[in-house]
Amino acid sequence: MKKHDQTTTANLLEIQDLSVHFNTQRGVVKAVRDLSLTIKKEETLALVGESGCGKSVTAHSINGLIPVPPGIIEKGKIIFEGENLLQKTEKEMQHIRGVRISMIFQEPMTSLNPVFTIGRQIADVFLTHHDIPREEAFSRAVNLLDMVKIPSPETRAKSYPHQLSGGMRQRAMIAMALASPEPGLMIADEPTTALDVTIQAQILRLMVSLKKRVGMSLLLITHDMGVVAETADRVIVMYAGRKVEEADVYSLFDKPAHPYTLGLLNSLPSNRKYAGASRLEAIPGTVPDLLTINDGCPFANRCPRAGDICRSVFPGETPLTEHHSVWCHNHVR
């Protein structure tokens, strides 16, 4: 536990060279390849990319929720507070999941058990990790519902998930994630995608304020650049299983270096440069099939800057500043 008390910039989580594959009927899907990342204490790291880029698979690898088979962790290490999670037994992982790493999902409707009240579900998490009486666990659950700003938490604790609105359910999910004894890392997998925009704003604000209050780190998985800009400290951009750019949030939006990042930002209709413009600068083509992908840069077939080398070799890291790196042979300068 001494490690905790070192500097606040110490790495809470470090992923080294992670590759995750899935065996499907049509062949092997290389969902994540050679991914490395670090999350510091109390920071918000956003993992951003379009569907199929491997961001959710990465999140699920961290707390051991990849179904094996069909999934395989090909190689890599996931080091959480100095220990490699990939070498833990299922029992040890259960403990770490509940105690130090919690997770919230995209669909708050299907992520809560329909036949138990939400108070009961949160209380169950307490009971798993603490030796306390049932009544106390329930009253702690009510406290948490209050903390996530659910109105009249005592009565709401006795509600079933289907009796709550989407926003309420996501609040309940967050409360459940906070029921871990010492939340160190919260993984949020597209936490607001299923919600309306006014509710999304409330939930994002709640997550940011809770993060500060509890002192945890947040790994935010999203496809929404707006959500990233609003909440992240640092950003990793993924494309077709690869990390292509990593930067603090200001550098990334200010000076995107990877052609894909630039294309992604240009694709946003809300981009300031489109005031009065009649067309968007879209990225042509489609995401490559992960079954047939080769060792080159996966973006090469859509990239306006791609050369021959891009199609055969995936580039190494090019550091641009202390907090900004790109993986590209011909990055944007």
């Binding site: 259960q94 105690v99 790493i101 919690s102 997770m103 058990n113 329909p114 169950d124 029921a179």
Partner: protein
């Protein structure tokens, strides 16, 4: 919730009316003259005429129908042609035997079926899973009457362990109160301290219950497995795992309670089907229940008995399905609270 139950009960009435109507017209319009059947081939024309008049068969069909309806509302199903006793009395006597058999068959089927299904689902794609599912597949493909004969061939004829039929050793005389022999035998056990009755009743029950329970057992095991697999894929199971809830608790509390919902429905349907499946089983095991009785009534063209038997079994079937629906909605908060 209450209004839902009342509404369901309200729907019961037209369905039962439909059943009664259908049975009445099917039997009335079927070829064959009941009076001729009752009196035999050698009856004279005058005798037939007289009997038809007595039975009301000479009146127009719609009059017959309404008088039939009004009698059924008073639970008067007429008299059996073969025995001459009121149909409702016969049913009252035979029904407990069938219920007893069906109940134990169902107990066996649902208890074992759920256990096998859950184990199969959690040990998916292991030899254990394959073995149980192949076994279940054989179970649903089995002709029940043949299974009954094979069981008799092995356990009664071959090994001489269990009786071939009946409800109790004919040399034993037991006082009956409820006509549920297990209950009556238990009463005998407490009053006289004599366990032979219970032993004999149970011994007679084993083979028919096993034969009758095989198909539901297989169906329940298969349903449980697929329902469990479906539930285990749900997001909320992922949530529970992510919160560090132990796997055993996830399976038996979180998953099973959800998986039970479709199983309840299946158990209800199967229980209803057992009542009619008993026609075959009871015939093979000489079980003096309502199934065997209906079979004989059909062979003897005993129309009042057939009509009464069918209406009673269908009513019980419909009522069981209703109870299951209500149970389902009590267990499922989504239905209960909406």
């Amino acid at each position: 919730m209450l209004s839902y139950i009342l509404k369901r009960i309200g729907l019961l009435i037209p369905t039962l009316l439909g059943v009664i109507t259908l049975v009445f017209f099917m039997i009335s319009l079927s070829p064959g003259d009941p009076a001729r059947v009752m009196l035999g081939e050698r009856a004279s024309a005058e005798q037939l005429e007289k009997l038809r008049e007595d039975l009301g068969l000479d009146r127009p069909l719609h009059q017959q129908y309404f008088s039939y309806l009004s009698r059924i509302v008073r639970l008067d199903f007429g008299k059996s042609i073969t025995t001459g006793r009121p149909v409702i009395e016969e049913i009252g006597q035979l029904f407990p035997a069938t219920m007893e058999l069906a109940f134990f068959a169902m107990l066996l089927a649902s208890g074992l079926g759920i256990i096998i299904g859950v184990v199969s689902a959690t040990k998916r794609n292991t030899p254990l899973d394959y073995a149980s599912m192949i076994g279940a597949l054989f179970g649903v493909s089995m002709p029940v009457f043949w299974l009954g004969l094979v069981l008799i061939m092995i356990f009664s004829v071959g090994l001489d362990l269990l009786p071939t039929g009946g409800r109790m050793n004919i040399r034993l005389y037991m006082e009956t109160f409820t006509n549920f022999y297990i209950i009556d035998a238990l009463i005998a056990l407490f009053r006289k301290g004599d366990i032979t009755y219970l032993g004999s009743a149970l011994k007679h029950l084993i083979l028919p219950a096993a034969a009758l329970g095989t198909i539901p057992l297989a169906i329940i095991a298969r349903t449980t497995r697929s329902s469990m697999l479906e539930v285990l894929k749900q997001d909320y199971i992922k949530t529970a795992r992510a919160a560090g809830i132990p796997e055993g608790k996830i399976i038996f509390r979180y998953a099973l309670k959800n998986a039970l919902l479709p199983i309840i429905t299946v158990i209800g349907i199967q229980f209803g089907l057992l009542l009619s499946g008993a026609i075959l089983t009871e015939t093979i095991f000489a079980w003096p229940g309502i199934g065997k009785w209906i079979y004989h009534s059909i062979s003897a063209r005993d129309y009042p008995a057939v009509q009464g038997g069918i209406i009673i079994i269908s009513t019980v079937f419909v009522v069981i399905n209703l109870l299951v629906d209500i149970l389902y909605s009590v267990v499922n908060p989504r239905v209960r609270l909406s």
